[in-house]
């Protein structure tokens, strides 16, 4: 091990209490940033979960629609007009809207109906763990997520209930399809969805458009927009981005998460800076001795930056362990903390940068130390 690293580590470990305080600062900071960013990613994945899991080339929604649950109505006649546009192969109508699910004990709970026309290539429930999605073809059959069993008083396939007074049977169960609004998604056939939501049958919430293999998406999108007024034609990526942008930034929810993460970085930087500075002050005569011995500035920077890096590596290691616990703990919760490998790498780099920035105050102090002070004590 290099002498610089030895000196840096021993200086850090000499005052264990201060070292622990420094590590706590880093761990607090990194965990806070990790959780905030994990919530951000979890939230943003949840916002677009239906869009991201639907296999389609274009989403057609009304002009003012900002996200999937943003209720809007399009005339079903739009389907015929879409089919006439060059490049369009298939069009499936979908209906979405709130309704009321009646539990066996008579209590009503709000649900969000997603009506799909499977026969025409409508969106299909994913992560089916019991039954099949094709059961939606059978009238008065619905698909629910098992995370909502308690809310819906359900126990699996075969459970019966009422939606808007109409009897339904659970035909399939999914795992992990959760709504960020916390209102359970209930998948149904298109005709049932009209009945469950009370929407007129000549209106749909959206259309899924599949293109012919040779069709150019952008050109077809432009053709659709020029042919039909009052609509948006969005690729899945565009619709996802539009949804995320609305919820994360226009509502301020994302900004709050980012602000929380930023706060974590600031708190961590200040704590590490304070501990490094006080450690440096305690060893000021040693640094002055180094300077008297002729150590270059860069040599002294190395000692302090090594101290910062040791803090960063150990602190990040502990924070990563806590973070993995948080991920595990929230995996089945209403709002998951999603930590991706890229986020881990980014957080590690952030921790390193944070600790090096923290070292600046200590470096500032040390480079100004007069080596002659070693002659006065």
């Amino acid at each position: 091990m290099s002498l610089v690293l030895t000196l840096a580590m021993r200086n850090l470990f000499q005052d264990r209490l201060r070292f622990v305080a420094s590590l706590m600062g880093i761990v607090f900071s990194v965990v806070l940033v990790m959780v905030q960013m994990g919530l951000y990613f979890g939230f943003s994945a949840m916002i677009t979960t239906v869009i991201d899991h639907t296999k389609t080339d274009l989403w057609i929604v009304s002009k003012g629609t900002k996200y999937f649950e943003d209720l809007s109505l399009l005339n079903t006649g739009t389907k015929e007009r879409l089919l006439k546009i060059e490049g369009v192969s298939e069009v499936a109508a979908g209906v979405a809207g709130f309704s009321a699910w009646r539990l066996p004990d008579g209590v009503m709970t709000s649900v969000f109906i997603i009506g799909t026309d499977l026969a025409s290539g409508g969106l299909s429930p994913w992560n089916v763990v019991e039954g099949t999605a094709q059961s939606l073809i059978t009238p008065r059959t619905v698909v629910i997520d098992r995370s909502y069993y308690d809310r819906l008083g359900a126990s699996g396939v075969g459970t019966t209930a009422q939606i808007r007074g109409l009897p339904v049977t659970v035909g399939a169960v999914t795992d992990g399809i959760r709504s960020f609004t916390t209102t359970p998604y209930v998948f149904s056939g298109l005709r049932d969805a009209w009945a469950f939501t009370g929407l007129p049958t000549n209106f749909a919430s959206h259309f899924l458009v599949r293109l012919k293999p040779e069709a150019n998406i952008e050109r077809t999108r432009q053709s659709i927009l020029s042919s039909i007024s009052g609509i948006q034609a969005l690729t899945p990526d565009q619709f996802s981005e539009q949804s995320r942008s609305f919820w994360l930034f226009r509502t301020g929810a994302g900004a709050a998460l980012v602000a929380g993460a930023l706060l974590g970085v600031i708190v961590g930087t200040v704590i590490v800076a304070q501990t490094l500075y006080s450690s440096t002050k305690d060893h000021l005569y040693e640094f002055a001795t180094l300077r008297a011995m002729g150590a270059s500035n860069s040599y002294i920077y190395q000692v302090i930056i090594c101290q910062a890096l040791v803090n960063a590596v150990i602190g990040f290691g502990i924070a990563a362990l806590i973070g993995s616990g948080v991920v595990h703990f929230t995996a089945k919760s209403a709002l998951q903390v999603v930590i991706t490998p890229v986020l881990i790498v980014e957080l590690f780099v952030l921790t390193i940068v944070m600790c090096i920035v923290s070292a600046m105050t200590a470096i500032y102090r040390v480079v100004r130390v007069d080596p002659a002070i070693v002659l006065t004590r």
Binding site: L3, L7, E286, R291, M293, S296, L375
Partner: protein
């Protein structure tokens, strides 16, 4: 023929401006030669530490020039002064200033590390130099496990391991008992004689004059007297200043070679 290692010519140093200005050094001329142990003595506040700081390139003189192994320090930036210290000067301090978290060997190794000397060769040099000051068995000891005399010997080993041309020692025996003080001076004297280094020792202790080849007296920022001495340690232990005063010569306002 001795070779001059450090030359101070017409050096003056003042602190502060205007009427509050303090003249710490006045027109000092001093040369430190290789193979010679020079003792610098004077009362508190006489300018010893300021002179040591200037000779050690830690402080710039207000007037005059300092040359270290032929290189002038005038106008040098802090990093350049650090390089001169690294290349030519070793320090021994009154309070040792060892790194409390490093072992004896690591403390000595550090002096080589800052010069970019690392690896087995540096370690071998470290072992040799610690053995030369009688600490071959204390390589892995931390400063807190060593006596004051041993700590000072580690500090001397650190000062000489990179074979600098000059060793500047600031009251190296002040914190030691008589026996350890004598032993430390014996080592410093041997460094001057056997290694041909220029050694400057600042001290108040007249018992150590016997180790000196030259004694320089500073008062009110000016060099007052200079003496050559051939007295041995036993002769000087009584600390009778008359013994070296007898062979000293008065110098007017400065001391020159």
């Amino acid at each position: 023929m001795t070779e001059s290692v450090i030359e101070a010519a017409n050096v003056g140093k003042s602190f502060g401006d205007g009427p509050a200005s303090v003249q710490a050094l006045k027109d000092v001329n001093l040369t430190l030669n290789g193979g010679e142990l020079t003792v610098l003595m004077g009362p508190s506040g006489s300018g010893k530490t300021t002179l040591l700081s200037i000779l050690g390139c830690m402080l710039a003189p207000t007037v005059g020039t300092v040359r270290i192994c032929g290189t002038t320090t005038s106008g040098a930036r802090p990093e350049q002064l650090a390089k001169i210290r690294r290349q030519h000067i070793g320090f021994v301090f009154q309070s040792y200033h060892l790194f409390s978290t490093l072992t004896s060997a690591e403390n000595v190794l550090l002096a080589l590390d800052v010069r970019g000397e690392r690896g087995p060769k540096a370690m071998a040099k470290t072992r040799d130099v610690l053995a030369s000051v009688g600490l071959a068995s204390k390589l892995e000891s931390f400063p807190r496990q060593l006596s004051g005399g041993e700590q000072q010997r580690v500090a001397i080993a650190r000062a000489i391991v990179a074979e600098p041309s000059a060793i500047l020692a600031d009251e190296p025996t002040a914190a030691l008992d008589a026996a350890n003080g004598q032993a430390t001076m014996a080592i410093l004297s041997a460094i001057a004689k056997e290694r041909g280094r220029a050694v400057l020792v600042v001290t108040h202790d007249p018992r150590l004059f016997g180790f000196a080849d030259r004694i320089v007296y500073i008062e009110d920022g000016a060099l007052r007297r200079e003496a050559s001495t051939s007295l041995g340690p036993a002769d000087t232990q009584r600390g009778d200043p008359s013994q070296w005063n007898a062979s000293s010569k008065a110098i007017s306002s400065s001391s020159s070679q």
